[in-house]
């Protein structure tokens, strides 16, 4: 089942020493926001792992199928979370609310998205609840909405779900239709401070064997180790390619950051903007990089060369680290990295949900042409 390149083993555990690598790897799979809360989140998690002991990281198959499992993630903006850090009990509270509602006791936690801070808070929650963490997730990267998951594609409902804000206020949502849940939650998230701890997709390990993407937590740890190991952009690209299948179609300098008040789908957060990059060397092409909350498409001289659900990230060449989308500036030298997403996202239903069409780009994905 593993098939994942670089997968380190059937079962393992996460200790305080793994936290920096987890953080960096999680950032690779969603390089949206900067490091404003890196130190506080990593020290929080490391402290928990020191006090409560390592969190076991288990393959879904390694857990009895009837084990109740729940996913957690950060809903909303990383910037808001940096500015209003958690008190510390939000995720645990969210899980407990569903436990009370469903009268179950969850035997394992898994990340809704094994990327960005959401990957780390899953470890936090497992450590707080003293349950294992599943080496699987629902996205394999980050998508904008909470029903953009492999579980949803497999018919698992995200609800009942609970969201707890840093204010301590909470929302419990029960809807029959997944997409409705996201819409109901967004307004509440703004009210409780711009982000919330979400516990969702309560199900069993047996269901997750077919419904979740396996190996995605150990993958970010491996990617993170690479990123911490070297700041040589060429070496990084080669090594990342071996683990994630990523390639570098171009290197160039940012020449323009363009904001357009274009009609955008209000259900998708963050308005569209566009980045113009002059390719250095090669064909000297003009690259246009479309941003939403993530990079959703790359055009070279107007020809689409990569697009959602591909994971597209920018490597700051002069610093040898991933560039976060909220810190881009004209003049920066960047490598454009394109990593294939999990196969499920290239299926017709996957493409319909998270492909370029969902971002208002009605073009055929380069893989389809």
């Amino acid at each position: 089942m593993t098939g994942q390149p670089g997968y380190i083993g059937a079962s393992s555990s996460i200790t305080a020493e793994d936290v920096p690598a987890l953080y960096e790897g999680a950032k690779f799979y969603s390089p949206a926001v900067g490091d404003a809360n890196r130190s506080s989140i990593t020290s929080w998690l490391a402290g928990l792992l020191d006090r409560n002991g390592p969190v076991p990281l288990l393959r879904v198959e390694g857990v009895p199928p009837e084990t109740p499992c729940v996913s957690v993630c950060v809903l909303g903006s990383g910037s808001a979370m940096a500015d209003l850090p958690p008190a510390g009990d939000e995720f645990e509270m969210a899980v407990r609310q569903i436990e009370r509602l469903q009268r179950v006791s969850f035997g394992a936690v898994y990340p809704l998205a094994a990327a960005t801070i959401s990957a780390l808070v899953a470890v936090v929650t497992a450590a707080q609840l003293r349950v294992p963490l599943l080496d699987a997730d629902g996205m394999g990267r980050t998508f904008a909405l909470i029903h953009h998951t492999a579980m949803h594609l497999s018919g698992v409902s995200p609800t009942p779900l609970a969201a707890v804000g840093p204010t301590g206020e909470s929302v419990l949502v029960e809807v029959p239709d997944g997409p409705r849940a996201d819409r109901m939650l967004r307004a509440n998230v703004d009210t409780v401070g711009g982000w919330a701890a979400l516990a969702a997709y309560p199900t069993t390990a047996g269901v997750l064997r077919r419904a979740a993407l396996p190996g995605t937590v150990s993958r970010i740890a491996n990617v993170g180790r690479l990123l911490l190991d070297s700041t040589d952009p060429d070496l990084l690209v080669t090594r990342l390619g071996a683990i994630t299948g990523c390639r570098r179609p171009a290197r160039g300098r940012i020449v323009e950051l363009e904001h357009l008040s274009r009609p955008s789908d209000v259900t998708i957060p963050a308005h569209p903007s566009s980045l113009v990059v002059e390719e250095l060397g090669g064909l000297g092409r003009q690259l246009r990089i479309e941003l939403r909350s993530e990079i959703v498409a790359v055009f070279a001289d107007g020809a689409l060369i990569a697009g959602a659900p591909d994971l597209i990230s920018l490597l700051d060449v002069s610093r040898g680290v991933l560039a976060t989308l909220d810190s881009l500036e004209p003049g920066d030298l960047v490598d454009v990295l394109v990593t294939p997403a999990d196969a499920v996202w290239y299926s017709p239903r996957g493409m319909e949900m998270v492909g370029m069409g969902s971002h208002g780009i009605p073009l055929a994905h380069p893989r389809r042409r």
Binding site: V255, E256, E258, L260, R262, P263, P272, S273, S274, V276, R285, Q286, R288, E290, A297, F299, D301, G302, A303, L304, G360, I361, P362, L363
Partner: protein, 500 residues
């Protein structure tokens, strides 16, 4: 209707009429034909476009950022003629990309739907569109009051077709490239002068075939320009006549100044500046004179000479004086003649066309110096006549020989007829006289004379012997000067006659 006007309209033509006339056009190739206009609201529609379509982006296809980049790329793939898009969507990088792809991009401020409808009408009825263009052009032409302006409008309108106004073989406005004959270029001409006028003014255009504009179209545009051009020309000649009179009067005033008690102290009057004249440290006069003087030249010719002489040197004076024209160049350095040499070289074609010769005086200081230089230039011009139309003679190189130019050659020839009857009756008289002249010019050196004449020394000897027999006793000291002068006069007269 002419067959050509139903040919597909070109991008260049469309860009010259509303609604695109006011748009920001980045045309990769104005001669691209436009066979159809497509209003593309979706990328699907864009993908179905066929080559030579012009596409107006709208709605989904014009959301900015990526969409224009992708549309430009699709347009390039589908070999479309141009992409038209709202300004709100097009940034500087879009223009850069269009240039990279060699795709025409037109940025509009108006509503895309309306623009598309208008363009569709123009493309489906190219004749009507062309009529519209002509109407617009007529308006622009009517606004012009000068020849330069009229030709400017024509050359702007006909971008790849150079147009020139030519009078008697001389380009007096526009682009002289119109006269250059090249392969795959057809020259067309339209007469401009008003009925009853002498001078043959023509508009000449060099039309590349095949090119963005058909020969018939260009011709009709040239005809359209004719009335404006006639009016402008009449006006400028009127202006010129006034100016010429003004300048003549001013120069007369200037001429009288040096006769003041101490010529060296003559101050340059301020009014010379108003005419754009300069009189300074080193004034070098130029005399433009007809090869065959025939009294005061008509103002029309003065106009043409002025147009040609002052091209690029608008401050240089041109004063009609007697049977010729005076001009001069002023500067600080008497030895500086580069500008003048260049001007003379540029004027050569006109000089030949109008059968003029040119004399150049030496550089002298002040008003008095200028007058002296004028006299020198005049003398030099007389010498220049020996060498035929277009000749230039510098006084520095003529010196006292200038005196010879003043000899009344016709009268002297009559003297010869009476006194040297035998010689004048001889068939080879010209060769004999020429030989005697060469020997006298060379101070009696036979070898020098034979070199100058390009004949063998023995031939020179034989001719001299025969000339002496016929009465041309050049070696008698008492007669030598008279015969030298006589030989000179006859040679000049005869060479002029043969040259004519």
């Amino acid at each position: 209707m002419k067959r050509s006007s139903t040919l597909p309209i070109t991008l260049g033509e469309l860009a010259r009429i509303q609604p695109l006339a006011g748009a920001e056009a980045h045309l990769a190739d104005p001669s691209r034909q436009v066979v159809q206009v497509v209003l593309a609201e979706t990328f699907d529609r864009l993908r179905r476009c066929t080559p030579h379509n012009l596409v107006v982006l709208h709605d989904e296809a014009a959301t900015g950022g990526w969409s224009l980049a992708a549309a430009l790329h699709l347009a390039w793939e589908r070999n479309l003629s141009a992409v038209v898009v709202s300004r709100s969507v097009a940034g500087g990088s879009s223009v850069a990309l269009a240039e990279r792809l060699h795709m025409s991009l037109i940025v509009i401020d108006d509503d895309p739907i309306e623009v598309a409808l208008q363009l569709a009408g123009q493309v489906s009825a190219p004749a009507a569109a062309r009529a519209l263009r002509q109407a617009r052009l007529a308006e622009q032409l009517a606004e012009q009051t000068g020849i330069r302006g009229v030709l400017g409008v024509l050359n702007r309108e006909l971008q790849q077709v150079p147009v020139a106004l030519v009078v008697g073989g001389v380009v007096i406005g526009g682009q002289s490239a119109a006269l250059t004959e090249r392969p795959q270029v057809r020259q067309i001409e339209v007469e401009v002068h008003a009925p009853g006028e002498r001078s043959a003014a023509r508009l000449v255009a060099a039309v590349p075939v095949p090119g963005p504009a058909s020969v018939e179209q260009v011709e009709s545009l040239l005809r359209l320009a004719r009335p404006s051009l006639q009016a402008a020309w009449a006006q400028s000649r009127l202006d010129t006549a006034t100016r010429a009179a003004h300048e003549q009067a001013a120069f007369d005033l200037l001429r009288r100044l040096p006769s003041a008690p101490s010529p060296a102290d003559v101050e340059v009057p301020g009014w010379t500046n108003e005419l754009g004249w300069q009189v300074g440290e080193a004034n070098r006069a130029v005399w433009l004179a007809p090869l065959r003087p025939s009294g005061e030249p008509p103002p029309e010719i003065t106009y043409l000479i002025r147009a040609s002489w002052q091209r690029g040197h608008t401050t240089w004076p041109l004063v009609a004086e007697g049977d010729g024209w005076i001009s001069w160049h002023s500067g600080a350095d008497p030895s500086e003649v580069t500008a003048l040499r260049r001007a003379l070289a540029a004027f050569r074609d006109s000089a030949v066309a109008h059968r003029l010769v040119i004399g150049v005086g030496r550089a002298h200081a002040g008003v008095a110096g200028l007058m002296r230089s004028v006299a020198e230039a005049r003398l030099a011009a007389h010498v220049a006549r020996e060498e035929g139309p277009g000749a230039v003679q510098w006084f520095d190189q003529v010196g006292a020989n200038a005196a010879l130019a003043w000899l009344p050659t016709t009268e002297i020839a009559q003297v010869a007829d009476l006194t040297l009857e035998e010689l004048m009756a001889a068939k080879d008289r010209a060769a004999l006289v020429q030989t005697v002249l060469a020997v006298l010019d060379s101070g009696g050196s036979l070898s020098q004379a034979s070199q100058r004449l390009g004949v063998h020394r023995n031939t020179v000897l034989a001719r001299l012997a025969r000339a002496r027999q016929l009465g041309l006793t050049y070696d008698e000291p008492g007669q030598r000067l008279a015969l030298h002068v006589l030989s000179y006069a006859l040679t000049t007269l005869w060479s002029d006659t043969t040259a004519d």
